[in-house]
Symmetry: C2
Subunit: 228 residues, 2 copies
């Protein structure tokens, strides 16, 4: 937790809170709270009351639901800029999903009441929040549609490319999730995630060293993601 006024230099300020005047920035700064989480920590728990507005400053998180049968379904794997606790925040009293840290993460938290107040008082701020929210839910929905129409090989290719291109920006990275979590994200079984990763390895599309993945033939992976 850290309350010093470092918002001026925060990377996210321009994106989430542009067009605030000095006074507003100062107010936000004095009231905001930063939280640090370690890999695996729970950031938001399904069922919890929504009292705060949370956005991700650094790290990587997963959004997921525990369904009535006890199974997890991952809604989204989000990095800074993608995730703000937007889903439900303005429409529900309690969270209907959980958020945990996949990597060490830092969130910045504001009282929801204060955000509502600022939304009411500052029109440009309001439009900004609308835009972020629109973007966040759009990308979740489009992502789910894309995944749904693919076969298993295509889904695995898709998620590998997601990590390589969108999350890490390199073809050589450590998976931040277990095979089981991949399965929960793209709607298949753990065994088949493993099987298809192995297939990709024997086909010399990727190399696997435990959690470490190296993409060798990215063009083929892209083709599988498109066609499959």
């Amino acid at each position: 937790m850290n309350n010093s006024c470092n918002c001026i230099s925060c990377d996210l300020k321009d994106i989430f809170f542009e067009h605030l005047n000095e006074g507003e920035i100062h107010k936000m700064c004095s009231e905001k709270k930063e939280h640090n989480y370690s890999k695996g920590d729970v950031i938001i728990e399904q069922g919890e009351e929504i009292k705060e507005f949370t956005y991700l400053k650094s790290g990587l998180v997963k959004l997921f639901r525990i369904e009535s049968d006890g199974k997890e379904q991952i809604i989204s794997i989000s990095k800074p800029m993608d995730f703000v606790s937007l889903l439900s925040v303005f429409s529900e009293k309690t969270y209907n999903y959980s958020v945990t840290a996949l990597e060490d993460s830092t969130t910045c938290v504001l009282e929801l009441e204060m955000v509502r107040k600022m939304t009411g008082e500052n029109g440009i701020f309001a439009l900004n929040i609308l835009e972020k929210m629109s973007k966040a839910s759009d990308s979740i929905i489009m992502g789910m549609l894309k995944i749904r129409q693919k076969h298993l090989r295509g889904r695995i290719a898709f998620i590998l490319l997601y990590f390589a291109e969108t999350v890490y920006g390199t073809n050589d990275f450590d998976l931040p999730v277990s095979r089981k979590e991949i399965a929960e994200y793209i709607g298949m079984t753990t065994e088949n995630v493993i099987r298809i990763l192995s297939e990709f390895r024997t086909d010399k599309i990727i190399k696997i060293f435990g959690k470490t993945i190296e993409i060798i033939d990215i063009d083929r992976l892209k083709m599988i993601s498109e066609k499959g």
Copy 2:
């Protein structure tokens, strides 16, 4: 098209535009346009520039995408209160989905510029829009998650219950969609939609007369929707 100022008595006024003052209502009223669509008409076309803010006053519509392979995927089947052209409206320049009328429908349209302006000027209005948007995308996402985890029988049961309980409020209704559209909505093939409907008929769960469906054993249907 109809420009007389009947907004005062519009059912949707309280929901979408509560807390407007006289002047604002009058302004909205003089600038809004109503459009009537017949079953099958295109309301919004994928790729089209987003210049307006559209909400559904009466009727039933489907939101869908045409994917690169030419196949349709239905994102949502929405009734008044559920649908406002919210997805993307505040974040994209063009629509990345289409909307067509499943039943005769009436929309009410405002210039997007005007809505943005009002959002900036009237804080409560802004919060209201945020709430609607949050609700709309939430229910789409949760719906997709629910459908994804079900087997085909469960999906068919789910959508039949959706029409019976949420859309029409009766166990005896006309399907507003073809078997093919059901398939596109819940991610399966047309043949299997038909097959499972037939199964439900032989199991005496529903009666089928072409597009007309009568649910006989709603408890069993609910059980299938839950378990399947």
